[in-house]
């Protein structure tokens, strides 16, 4: 392999790599604004200038190919001077409005001004003024003055989103970004440009001014919008989710996530329709009762039916752990009618990330044991049987069947007993006799298996009544660390909800099945011991990047661009 020496460190590289790539691989970070590992090279910001021995001038590391025996200095006086000069140049027309800019705290320009600039400007003339608060698209706000013309957003829409919607217009210091005439920047991936914009020129209309980045805690999670399972970070302030951002995982979603997933998969967690505490139906009304009372009623009523009259509906929205214990309970009771509903939105997909299956865990639910066995009925058959009153009792795990359509709602109306685990009140809970509040994806540990068979971890980002940020090792902002019960910010809403696997395990005790687990991790351990698909997997080896489930034949996940 050819070798290059960067700052005295000898590094191996692959032919065709640029200096910046070779350096990154070797753990050396060369400052860059316009370069992005997933985009084409544009070379316009000039901050990555480095000194190469035997070359008369400094070269830009992002577009200069590394060569065997090349000796590069990234911290020589000449490079530092050049970097400072570039910073001074970029800042000439920068409005320096960090106090009102959402990017502050995660801004490359701020960071580099601090690290690579001496902080003196010789520019005394009036700064150039451009349009601020321009609505580029339904979800994107653009501030012309902050833009440093790096062209990342343009290259992203063109090369990744496949929609050539943005362009530069004008020249020199008047250059600015706009959409093509009559076009709106409205593809399903626009919000990724907010993430990659090195400054605060592009901001999210949804998240705008909601919170400073340093006021939030960030927790690794997975998007629940479709079966791609894009890796995300959940940003929380005052126990309320403020935004989702994509987390890099080359094999699943690279650096990106879609706008649909980013904006529509977290608001229900803090919605006023949240189910807060268990309830049972008395004289047509749902009334709040204790956990014990609700579970006792669920147990007593389920005992009234023959097992052939009962069906269990698992859920592709619940974790593998939830579904696993649910299936164990069904097996223990001798209920063979067990399946789950698919949520396929035919035609609603694209060539980048979004998939038709609008659930995060259909493969996981199936692998964990939610499928009809010993001649049990499948989901469609169960619903048919409900209509003709052959099935009289349904136990549904976190799914809104009535929401699937009128026909389903009418069927649920015919049941003698309906028990549901629900995160939010929905059409199905309208028919329920027992509603058990389940923790949302952002409130629990668990595993989702995406369409390609990658098992991925969920971690709790917000607390419920029974969890505690510090004791449960959740990520904490400074506010969480020092807040007391007398501080208003520490009083964000917390719901009386529990992870479904815990509810099922509590109910199982009443049926004489001892599913005694303290933590989701123990449930998963049991799953991996009893199920060949999860063999050898645990929370640690699944880690941040996920791990493939075993013994299934699926198309090998194709690396996304």
């Amino acid at each position: 392999m050819p070798k290059i020496t960067i700052d005295g460190k000898e590094l191996e590289f692959k032919q065709g790599q640029t200096i910046i790539e070779a350096a990154k691989q070797g753990g050396i970070d060369i400052p860059h604004f316009c370069w992005h590992s997933s985009l084409s090279v544009s070379g316009n910001c000039r901050i990555c200038l480095v000194e190469v021995e035997k070359l008369p001038k400094l070269v830009i590391a992002c577009s200069t190919l590394a060569a065997d025996g090349m000796v590069v200095q990234t911290a020589s006086q000449k490079t530092l001077d050049a970097r400072n000069a570039v910073m001074e140049f970029i800042l000439i027309n920068h409005p320096l409005d960090c106090p009102i800019c959402d990017e502050a705290g995660e801004c490359k320009l701020q960071d580099y001004a601090y690290e690579h600039s001496v902080g003196e400007s010789r520019f005394v003339e009036e700064k150039n003024h451009k349009d601020k608060r321009v609505q580029l698209g339904p979800r994107i706000m653009f501030d012309g003055e902050r833009c440093i013309s790096c062209s990342r957003c343009i290259r992203f829409s063109d090369e990744i989103a496949g929609k050539n919607q943005l362009t530069f217009v004008k020249r020199g210091d008047r250059v600015t970004i706009t959409t093509f005439p009559g076009e709106s920047f409205d593809n399903n991936y626009t919000l990724n440009t907010v993430d990659i914009c090195p400054v605060g020129a592009l901001t999210s209309a949804d998240f705008r001014f909601k919170s400073r980045v340093w006021e939030m805690s960030a927790t690794d999670s997975v998007c629940v919008g479709c079966s791609r399972g894009c890796n995300t970070e959940v940003w929380v302030r005052d126990n309320k989710i403020q935004r989702l951002t994509p987390r890099h995982n080359e094999a699943v979603n690279s650096h990106w996530m879609c706008d649909y997933g980013r904006l529509n998969t977290f608001k229900f967690v803090n919605d006023e329709t949240r189910v807060d505490g268990p309830s049972i139906r008395r004289e047509g009304q749902l009334i709040k009762v204790s956990w014990d009372e609700a579970l006792n009623l669920a147990h007593d009523r389920l005992r009234e039916f023959k097992t052939s009259e009962i069906a269990f509906i698992g859920s592709a929205f619940a974790t593998a752990e939830d579904n696993y214990l649910f299936a164990r309970l069904a097996k223990h009771m001798g209920v063979h009618n067990i399946d789950f509903a698919r949520h396929i939105a035919h035609g609603d997909f694209d060539n980048l990330l979004l998939l038709e299956d609008k659930t995060p865990n259909s493969l996981g639910a199936e692998l964990a044991g939610i499928k009809p066995e010993h001649g049990g009925l499948s989901f469609d058959e169960i619903m048919e049987a409900v209509k003709i009153k052959k099935i009289k009792a349904l136990y549904i795990l976190e799914d809104d069947l009535a929401g699937l359509g009128e026909e389903y709602a009418a069927a649920l109306g015919k049941l003698d007993l309906l028990i549901v685990h629900a995160v939010n009140y929905n059409k199905t809970t309208d028919y329920a006799d027992v509603v058990l509040p389940s923790a949302a994806f952002a409130e629990k540990n668990g595993i989702f298996v995406n369409f390609a068979g990658t098992a991925q971890r969920l971690k709790p980002a917000t607390t419920t009544l029974e969890t505690d940020r510090a004791l449960d090792g959740m990520s904490m902002s400074r506010w969480d660390v020092f807040g007391t019960k007398f501080d208003r910010w520490a009083n964000g809403s917390r719901y009386d909800a529990r992870p479904s696997w815990r509810i099922v395990s509590m109910l199982s005790q009443k049926f004489g099945l001892k599913l005694k687990f303290q933590m989701a991790e123990e449930v998963f351990r049991s799953l991996s011991e009893h199920n060949k698909h999860f063999e050898g997997l645990d929370y640690d080896n699944i880690g941040r990047k996920g791990a493939l489930v075993k013994n299934i034949s699926l198309p090998v996940p194709e690396k996304i661009k």
């Binding site: 960090c98 106090p99 009102i100 502050a104 601020k132 608060r133 705008r208 001014f209 909601k210 919170s211 400073r212 340093w214 006021e215 400074r478 506010w479 020092f482 807040g483 007398f486 501080d487 208003r488 910010w489």
Partner: protein, 164 residues
């Protein structure tokens, strides 16, 4: 500091007590004829100089709008976590304003860091030292109590321009 003597170390004069008592009384009488420095608070109120750090307040412009742009820096720098800011968008040119701005006066230690860090000169230390509350909730001052017209803060703003 005078060294405290043990009884066994006292000399004869000190052991007699009378001269020492006379000395003490002399000091008392002398002070009686000096001008008084105590104030009869609350009938008479102390007027602090501009350098005084009373409770932090928000500067309200003549237009009635607060200067604050809800950048959150004061909240971040505050060592006591006394300040909670929530931003929102305004049609005004400044784009951002604090929808909610609260200082918990039970947390505040009057260090003045918030004033020092503010990029807008929007939060300043006032001359107000009269802080009385009867419960914890009362001690959390919202915008209603924090906003003070700029005219009433001239002293402090001038002081900051000269010495900050």
């Amino acid at each position: 500091m005078p060294v405290k003597k043990r009884k066994k170390d006292l000399n004869l004069m000190e052991n007699l007590y009378i001269p020492e008592i006379a000395k003490g009384l002399a000091l008392t009488f002398k002070t009686m004829f000096k001008p008084k420095v105590t104030m009869e608070y609350p009938e008479v109120k102390f007027q602090p100089p501009a350098s005084y750090r009373g409770r932090p307040v928000l500067v309200q412009e003549e237009s009635g709008v607060e200067r604050c742009v809800a950048c959150g820096l004061c909240s971040r720098v505050c060592p006591a976590l006394a300040i909670e800011v929530r931003a929102s968008e305004t049609e005004l040119e400044k784009e951002r304003y604090p929808e909610k701005f609260e200082i918990n006066m039970l947390r505040c230690i009057f260090c003045g860091f918030c004033e020092e860090v503010c990029p807008e000169e929007a939060i300043v230390m006032s001359k107000d030292y009269e802080l009385v509350f009867t419960d914890r909730e009362d001690a959390i001052y919202g915008k209603d109590k924090l906003l003070v017209p700029v005219a009433n803060l001239k002293d402090r703003l001038e002081f900051l321009r000269n010495f900050k």
